[in-house]
């Protein structure tokens, strides 16, 4: 009596949508075990991590603030992942977006105007796109692994930002702190809810969710990406270009990551500093998978991951746990999800011998039932 796996011909919707929920519950359970093992009251800690941030208006607004970059980047990455294009350097593209958009704000630090913010958004998006274009070019032209190139560029981007805020873009009146000038009001995103940090970027992220759904579900290019991702050969016979998909994936995800980076510096941060993101570019990878590469799923997953950042902050303050607990939770969640994914593609069968189904093996299921009993 041993279990075996059988390939599913198609995946029931219920299982597809249930597995992320199960993965989240398993993560919460393992988190409780972890808290208990470290000597903290598990239920209290779990409450602090998952529930407490939701109990105030400010907490809810903060979730929106943190979900904004995650959802924006997650939508971009999901397009590539569907086409088997692995952009894992979104963190670098985010940084370049912050640099380019931020540089515009600093160039006009003494000029105000309604045109400034749109110009910053365009600069940030283009900056992210340019950074994403490098791995796309090296992949399509020289066959270099986009995974490694995009990741290496993340380190380059972070160092570049550090150089800028220590040098050319450092605030001249900032007592040599590695920070830029503060952006003035017309270079800052307006807030949606007074006295919170929830900014216009959140609304734009929602719009991108809808746009992302439209592109993937209703346009030819979305269809091409999906076909190439599922069976590259079929895509080739249909005349779809793999290179086009690589470019499209990197320009979209790079651009959205760049926009997210600009939203960070023109929103919650308000200036350029050596660190503009607590790893949103990497967490967005989890968001894309957890959301099943579907825009609506990504929105929900982005909110959950935003909660994990906030929860990490709360348990740090209340229980004195290191902030890195967020990374542990995020890693666990992705593990459980990828593990549970088995059941979206395979069905668990108990004791079906190879001959079952043929006439000779017809008696076997009866035996199997007896054994099971």
């Amino acid at each position: 009596m041993r279990p075996s796996l059988e390939l599913r011909s198609h995946t029931p919707r219920s299982i597809l949508y249930l597995t992320p929920v199960i993965a989240a519950l398993l993560t919460a359970f393992s988190g409780g075990v972890l808290f208990a093992a470290l000597g903290y009251p598990p239920l209290e800690a779990l409450y602090a991590f998952f529930i407490q941030p939701l109990t105030s208006l400010n907490g809810l607004a903060e979730i929106g603030v943190k979900a904004t970059p995650l959802v924006l980047i997650g939508i971009g990455l999901s397009i590539g992942f569907r086409g088997n294009v692995w952009n894992i350097g979104a963190e670098g593209q985010l940084t370049l977006g912050a640099i380019c958009g931020g540089a515009v704000a600093l160039a006009f630090y003494d000029v105000e105007g309604v045109w400034l913010l749109p110009l910053m958004v365009i600069a940030g998006t283009l900056g992210g796109m340019a950074w994403g274009a490098i791995p796309a070019l090296l992949k399509t032209r020289f066959n270099a692994s986009e995974i490694l190139v995009s990741l290496m560029l993340t380190y380059v981007a972070t160092l570049f930002l550090s150089y800028l805020v220590h040098g050319p873009l450092m605030d001249p009146e900032g007592f040599n702190f590695p920070q830029s000038r503060l952006f003035h009001d017309s270079a800052l995103l307006p807030t949606l809810i007074p006295f919170t940090r929830l900014h216009l970027g959140a609304a734009i992220a929602l719009f991108i969710v809808v746009a992302g759904w439209f592109v993937m579900a209703r346009t030819l290019i979305g269809f091409q990406v999906k076909v190439i991702g599922l069976t590259p050969a079929a895509g080739g016979y249909a005349g779809f270009s793999q290179k086009k998909v690589v470019w499209m994936a990197f320009l979209t995800s790079g651009g959205l990551a760049g926009m997210a980076g600009l939203f960070e510096v023109a929103g919650p941060i308000g200036q350029l500093s050596p660190s503009v993101s607590p790893g949103y570019g990497f967490t967005a990878i989890i968001v894309a998978f957890l959301g099943r590469l579907h825009p609506v799923g990504i929105l929900l997953a982005g909110l959950l991951m935003a909660l994990s950042y906030l929860g990490g902050e709360v348990v740090q303050i209340e229980l004195g746990l290191p902030l890195a607990i967020t990374g542990v939770f995020q890693g666990m969640l992705l593990f459980f999800l990828l593990g549970a994914d088995l059941f979206t593609r395979y069905r668990l069968r108990w004791n079906r011998s190879p001959a079952a189904g043929t006439a000779a093996g017809a008696a076997r299921p009866a035996e199997a039932r007896e054994e099971a009993a």
Binding site: L148, V149, F335, G339
Partner: protein
């Protein structure tokens, strides 16, 4: 010539963690599994080695802990990709994210604590030979161990039956399965070896290269190790060559700063990453060469059809 000596000595040190991590990943990939979690495994190795060494006072125990941590992480990856048939790229990324988080979590209490570096070997009169002495005969034990592991892997892969089987599994898992080799079990072992070596590579960082623990102290070395495997076109001895090259680039950057060359330190620190990209482009440009050398089943999920 004399001024060249410290350069080579430090270069060998900088290359050592890369050699360990890359040779482990090479064996993993030769068995047909792509584990992108090297960075995470190295970090867990680094933090475990440091924590155990400082608590017990024994470097040996620290190294064993690093191997153990690396293997555990690798087995977690194996469980997901080999038993639960999950996507290897996604699981490797998950392993890295998890490793970064967990190592920072574990290492919180060890940040800023001092530790004595691994002692250099003193081989008596051999170490006193000018030029050759410092370069060849007065490194710490791990530097020699890394080179020995590369030689051992080269011998294992190309001169033993088990090595042949491992390569067969990596080239065609269905064929290997059909002649009766336990594909999954062999891959588990290869993945575990990769984890052990990544753990040692991390341990070298936190015990010898910069004897301390800092969050995310590998700074991308796990990813550079992955690139080195491609650079080496899956040949063990070329890993050595590649690692020394990268060690040289790292040191060049330090020396340029020391020599007062007026380039900001952040821009100089970009060198190893940019070098990685350049090397990847140069090697991958020849698609046929990659196809000829890469294990044919790499990254593919194996589920035996009955």
């Amino acid at each position: 010539m004399e001024s060249f000596v410290p350069f080579i000595v430090i270069m060998l040190g900088a290359a050592t963690p890369l050699i360990f991590a890359a040779i482990g990943e090479l064996v993993t990939e030769k068995s047909g599994v792509l584990n992108l979690g090297v960075e995470g495994m190295m970090l867990m190795g680094a933090v475990s080695a440091f924590a155990v060494s400082i608590t017990t006072g024994s470097t040996t125990l620290g190294l064993l802990a690093a191997i153990g941590a690396g293997v555990l992480m690798a087995l977690l990856f194996g469980l997901l990709t080999l038993t639960l048939l999950a996507n290897q790229v996604a699981c490797g990324l998950a392993l890295t994210i998890f490793g970064i988080g967990l190592s920072s979590f574990i290492g919180k209490d060890y940040v800023g604590k001092p530790l004595d570096a691994l002692p250099s070997m003193d081989l008596g009169w051999l170490s006193d030979i000018p030029v050759l002495g410092p370069v060849l005969f007065s490194q710490d034990l791990m530097v020699y161990a890394a080179i020995a592991v590369v030689a051992a892997v080269a011998w294992f892969l190309y001169h033993t039956r088990a090595g042949l089987v491992l390569r067969a599994v990596g080239e065609s898992h269905h064929a290997a399965h059909a002649i009766g080799y336990p594909v999954i079990r062999i891959r588990y072992m290869a993945v575990a070896f990769g984890g052990a070596m990544a753990g040692l590579g991390g341990a070298y960082l936190s015990l010898a290269y910069t004897p301390m623990w800092v969050e995310h102290m590998t700074a991308g070395r796990g990813w550079i190790a992955l690139a080195l495997v491609v650079f080496a076109t899956w040949r063990p001895f070329r890993v050595l060559l590649g690692a020394w090259l990268f060690g040289g680039v790292t040191i060049l950057q330090l020396h340029a700063q020391g020599a007062g060359i007026a380039v900001p330190s952040q821009l100089m620190s970009m060198l190893p990453y940019i070098a990685t990209i350049v090397v990847l482009v140069l090697i991958s440009r020849d698609a046929t060469r990659i196809r000829m050398n890469a294990p044919a089943s790499i990254g593919k999920v194996f589920h035996p059809e009955r």
